[in-house]
């Protein structure tokens, strides 16, 4: 049996999903889209049930790609049973969605979630009365403590599709609805009005019903503002919310760099340089100087015609040494720390408040506050960042967002490597990139036709994060990161090493020397890392650090690597999400790289340091 979990965003749908399903959860893309959904298995009363967590949707008339997928999934599973999750404190708007689903004839139950929050707020709903009015079981639940979920599943197994006729009959019996005159159907009473009304309700009629139903089932008692409400308000007000946001970002960065510093410099660097590298150098077949050894373990370098073995994994450039060290030793701890903090911020419910605070600025560059979500995601990895642009409504917004994300937002892997090789200039590079994000966002907004709709956003109440769910989310994201990163890094080093050994990169460097040395002001050898950057930016930056140049040239080169082209993963995601617009994006990208990096070169020239 299939069960779809459906409901508004932020009603605790995912929490219910996590409570219901076991460890085997698959997160996958909906066919033909990049909108992901989760699927899991559970057993209840001897029945095997497949539970699908549908993306949150406010109505059955989609407004963005994610909502469209929710609707498609509903259409694709007409036989599935539905758990419609409603926030008990926001009964009316939940009820509207539930009525729409009942009218469409699904077998469903309503989970009246956040029952505890409603209780605290002195809001009470009569679930029995509500259930009898709308003709489907209504079960109060508290997802965080799994309260009511067993009853919910019991009722779900027993439920039959009610359908529009049954709904109208019940509503009419309760005196809530007057129908059209009957044309001789079976479900009517005394031939006066028709129960199986021919068409669905209009939006106005449905709202009128919702209001009438909630009048009979909902009582709102006196409610005092609590400390949680006060904090919720202060963190969204500009005067008090901005300092708070600054503190949160401080904590984010501080914990990120402390943790990755501890793991990389404290332990993993030592482990790789002192144990892994010598061990590999010792046994790998072929030995120093041979082709396979150079590619896989240690390229080494020549000094006065003598081959010298590398002392650190960062220098060696072997697939099995540098490659593994970069991904497992440097990037993994950084990405792990990033995902933990991101999951915490998400689950607490802070991100929407940050979005409100940022809307003012992001609106000026043609986006709106919610663009903060793809931006922050991109700081972890650009691929999910580009994927998340689907939450923006218009083509123009998605184009602008995708373009400036891919160009200007360095990914977590890249930041981690920068912290490792140029710790004192990371801040400057990041600042220069963020400046570009706003400058070119502003310009693109002016140039590209199309509108920027105003923000409409739901601001949820703060919630205590559930550690088990945070752990699960972090594990899933880290796993998918590793699955993407390791093959690409391996391939990247392999290709670059092979190109090097055949002189292709030297030829490329010679050919493009005027551009590199004249326009960007960096050594021509930068060409090599740029090839690698297409596979992994972190790898490219590690390779840059091995080239002899001044610190200003190094900064320019790193900025160049960051913005000149998206990595291959981002490239394909942009192609998938953007379609034709992607090529426009690419054109912008290449011209921006020339302008923004050239400008940095100009700054150095004016300052007289180059």
């Amino acid at each position: 049996m299939k069960v779809l979990l459906l409901g508004h965003p932020n009603v605790g749908k995912s929490v219910i999903f996590n409570r219901l399903t076991g460890a085997d959860v698959i997160s996958s893309n909906y066919p033909g889209t990049t909108v992901d959904y989760k699927k899991g298995l559970m057993r209840h009363k001897g029945q095997d049930i497949e539970v699908i967590d549908v993306p949150g949707t406010f109505s059955l008339e989609p407004r963005d790609k994610a909502e469209a997928v929710a609707l498609d999934m509903l259409r694709d599973h007409p036989q599935a049973r539905i758990i419609c999750v409603i926030d008990a404190t926001k009964l009316e708007r939940g009820l509207y969605l539930a009525l729409d689903l009942i009218e469409k004839g699904y077998a469903m139950v309503v989970a009246l979630n956040m029952w505890d929050v409603a209780h605290d707020k002195n809001i009470s709903v009569d679930p029995v009365k509500l259930g009898s009015l709308i003709g489907v079981p209504v079960i109060p639940t508290v997802a965080v403590s799994a309260e009511g979920l067993s009853t919910l599943m019991d009722r779900l197994l027993a439920v039959e599709p009610a359908g529009i006729a049954e709904l109208y009959k019940r509503l009419r019996l309760a005196g809530l609805m007057t129908g059209t005159t009957c044309n001789g159907c079976s479900g009517c009473i005394a031939g006066q009005t028709c129960a199986s009304a021919p068409s669905v309700l209009s939006s106005e009629e449905r709202w009128a019903l919702v209001e009438e139903i909630s009048r009979r089932t909902l009582t709102i008692g006196h409610y005092r503002h609590t400390l949680k409400d006060a904090i919720g308000d202060y963190t969204v007000k500009p005067l008090t919310g901005t300092p708070f946001a600054i503190a949160i970002l401080y904590a984010f960065w501080s914990i990120f760099s402390t943790f990755s510093g501890l793991m990389t410099d404290g332990f993993l660097g030592k482990a790789f340089d002192r144990y892994w590298l010598p061990w590999m150098q010792g046994w790998f077949p072929g030995g120093p100087g041979t082709w396979i050894y150079g590619v896989m373990v240690d390229l080494g370098h020549f000094k006065d015609g003598v081959w010298i073995a590398s002392e650190t994994c960062l220098e060696s450039f072997g697939v099995l040494t540098s490659g593994l060290y970069l991904e497992l030793g440097v990037v993994l701890p950084a990405v792990f720390a990033f995902y933990i903090m991101l999951a915490l911020l998400e689950d607490v419910g802070y991100l929407p408040r940050l979005a409100v605070l940022m809307d003012t600025f992001l609106h000026k560059i043609g986006l709106h506050g919610y663009a903060i979500v793809p931006t922050i995601l991109s700081l972890g990895c650009n691929v999910p960042g580009v994927e998340a642009t689907r939450i923006l409504e218009t083509k123009k917004q998605r184009f602008v967002m995708m373009t400036i994300l891919a160009i200007f937002i360095p990914c977590g892997a890249q930041i981690a490597i920068m912290q490792d090789v140029i710790p004192s200039y990371t801040g400057f590079v990041m600042a220069y990139l963020f400046l570009g994000y706003f400058v070119f966002g502003f310009l693109l907004n002016r140039i590209i036709p199309g509108t920027t709709p105003d923000i409409i956003m739901d601001v949820p109440v703060y919630q205590r994060p559930i550690l088990r769910d945070v752990r699960r989310k972090v594990a899933m994201r880290t796993k998918s990161f590793l699955k993407d990163a390791i093959p690409f890094v391996t391939l990247g080093i392999l290709i670059v090493n092979i190109l090097y050994s055949h002189g292709a990169i030297d030829a490329l460097a010679r050919a493009s020397a005027p551009i590199f040395e004249g326009w960007f002001g960096v050594p021509r050898q930068t060409a090599g890392p740029l090839v690698a950057a297409f596979l992994r930016k972190d790898l490219a930056i590690a390779q840059l650090s091995a080239i002899t140049m001044t610190k200003y040239q190094l900064i320019t080169a790193i900025v160049l690597v960051s913005i000149y082209f998206p990595c291959i993963g981002t490239f394909f995601m942009m192609l998938k999400e953007g379609g034709k617009a992607f090529f426009g994006s690419l054109a912008v990208l290449i011209s921006v790289a020339f302008i923004w990096v050239g400008l940095l070169h100009l700054v150095w020239v004016i300052l007289g340091v180059q």
Binding site: T89, K90, D233, P238, P352, D359
Partner: protein
């Protein structure tokens, strides 16, 4: 007195009389409809969005949208 939602003072409450513009349905789905009591919680500077409260729902609306919502203030 009829006012724009954007023009309400912070903390002031009004009853929605009309919602203009093409995104009315979207607002309705979120719980913002004619006849509802709405309170302005805060307004962001530099023409930023407003944050409002309707029943238990907290919403953030851009300035342009907030201008299109008229409320009756007692």
């Amino acid at each position: 007195m009829i006012k724009d939602l954007y023009e309400l003072d912070l903390g002031q409450t009004g009853v929605i009389t009309t919602i203009e513009g093409g995104r009315r349905h979207h607002l309705t789905d979120l719980g913002l409809r004619v006849g509802k009591c709405v309170t302005v919680l805060t307004r962001q500077p530099f023409h930023g969005p407003v944050v409002i409260q309707v029943d238990q729902v907290t919403l953030s609306l851009g300035k342009g949208l907030a201008h299109k919502i008229k409320v009756e203030v007692a």
